[in-house]
Amino acid sequence: MSAIDRPAAFPVNWPARFAWIGLALYTAYATSILNLTWARFLTGLDNGAKFLGRMFPPNMAADKLDLIAVGMVESIQIAVLATFFGVLLSMPLGLAGARNLAPGWLSWSARGLIAVFRSFHPVIVSILFVKAVGFGALAGILALIVSSMGFVSKLFAEVVEEMNPKQVEAVRATGASFWNVLIMAVMPQVMARFVGLSVYQLDSNLRNSTMVGIVGGGGIGAPLFTAYQRFDYDVVLTILLLIIALIMLTELVSGRIRRIFQ
């Protein structure tokens, strides 16, 4: 009898319950609006299988391979150049955005800029740069520099904010200038993480560089898109396999680079 008087062991969390119900209702509503039906999904699977079937075997004709090679090499160049310059610019921007290092006005402006860089997908930024500097690799490079800066400098600023302040204080106590504190107390603490972020960004730029070509930003994207539109699915497969090989290769290389800088 006394069990009735004690408080509930697992009281109902009403706000959470309402949130779940709301999510379920919205999902049902959105599904009905967008005309998603099971039948369409099943036909889609069938079409997809046919599509995949038409991809095999990959097209290895010499003239196609030459064309693809040019595009792939350009994509790699876009990725490497964009990573190099993007990461280089991310270092000062990230340091400026770190609230434990920069004065308030500077860190807030840096953070504002980073937020703008992060707002748009690389493809949208590519469209802007294609309009500005014309078709070709330059537009793709500029677009990926912007997205690299958005990602690397935001996370780098966070890394700097998490550093050990005691090590910095000790170097400051020797009478070191701001720049010397940066060089001998801040950078040693954050450099390894910065390299890690940069390598990750190279990885991600290699993937994005295969895509900026779709909107005219240079690289393998243009031939890939053309092949799709001309129903040359065997060429599409060749390109996709090469992209997969490239990403796996960078995975291998980036692991090595990280280990060098532990």
């Binding site: 090590q167 204080e169 106590a173 020797t174 001998m184 040693p188 603490q189």
Partner: protein, 258 residues
């Protein structure tokens, strides 16, 4: 009867006051002279302002009021470039060593020269040759093998790290060294070794060292002067021999620990 000329004070603190929150002073009107030699130990319970006092001297903490005269300048009023120049003359040793963990021992020791070395030299690690030579000598002088020079600081034991911390402070060629609980993270045997080293350095290089310390026995054994603090005030100032149980009772409150 000729009286020895009074030693000129290296550091003269006058009416030093520090409030982290207005109206709640951590240091109340501290006045002290530190003269040119030996170890001065500051003892007192935790939270009594020992650390704050030491940190006010090299301005890792900004005092609320008062004067800190050092080399004909009031440290309390310095800022920017002048403060940096004054800090170069004051070495500091920390409880948790505060070495830059990812740098090598020699880089940490050479950090003591960062007040003198331009940024491009620090960046390229092109420290002046005589600094590098002196850094090696100091690694030796604090009791480490010179083979340690290229090891990373995070590969060292606590005692070894504190030796590197001391070498970094001495590398500055300081006129004064501040040591904030230098033995509190170390085992008893290593604590003795570190105090021994500080006392030896102070005597040999003729540099006064102010040590915050919890261990009253170590303070008595190595310091030439003991300052007892409680509640943000100095309640004992004199030789170790004069420190009585009654004084300790006053400093720490209660007597169970005696």
């Amino acid at each position: 009867m000729t009286q020895a000329a009074p030693l000129k004070a290296v550091l003269a603190i006058r009416h030093l006051r520090k409030e982290y929150r207005p109206g709640q002073p951590v240091l109340k009107d501290i006045s002290l002279d530190i003269d040119g030699r030996g170890l001065t130990a500051i003892i007192g319970p935790s939270g009594t302002g020992k650390s704050t006092l030491i940190r006010c001297i090299n301005r890792l903490v900004d005092p609320t009021a008062g004067e800190i005269m050092f080399e004909r300048q009031d440290l309390a009023r310095l800022s920017g470039q002048d403060l940096r120049m004054a800090r170069r003359r004051i070495g500091m040793v920390f409880q948790e060593y505060n070495l830059v963990e990812r740098l090598s021992v020699i880089e940490n020791v050479l950090s003591g020269r960062l007040g003198y070395v331009p940024a491009w030299r620090a960046f390229l690690r092109k420290f002046p040759e005589e600094d590098v030579t002196r850094a090696f000598d100091l690694i030796d002088a604090v009791g480490l093998n010179q083979d340690f020079a290229t090891r990373r600081a995070d590969a060292l034991s606590g005692g070894q790290r504190q030796r590197v911390g001391i070498a970094r402070a001495i590398m500055q060629e300081p006129a004064l060294v501040l040591a904030d609980e230098p033995t509190s993270s170390l085992d008893p045997k290593t604590s003795v070794e570190i105090m021994e080293l500080l006392a030896e350095i102070s005597a040999r290089r003729d540099v006064p060292i102010i040590v915050n310390i919890h261990n009253v026995d170590l303070a008595r054994r190595y310091a030439g002067r003991i300052i007892g603090m409680t509640g943000g005030e100095v309640v004992y100032d004199g030789p170790p021999a004069g420190l009585t149980d009654a004084d300790l009772k006053h400093i720490y409150g209660g007597e169970d620990f005696l």
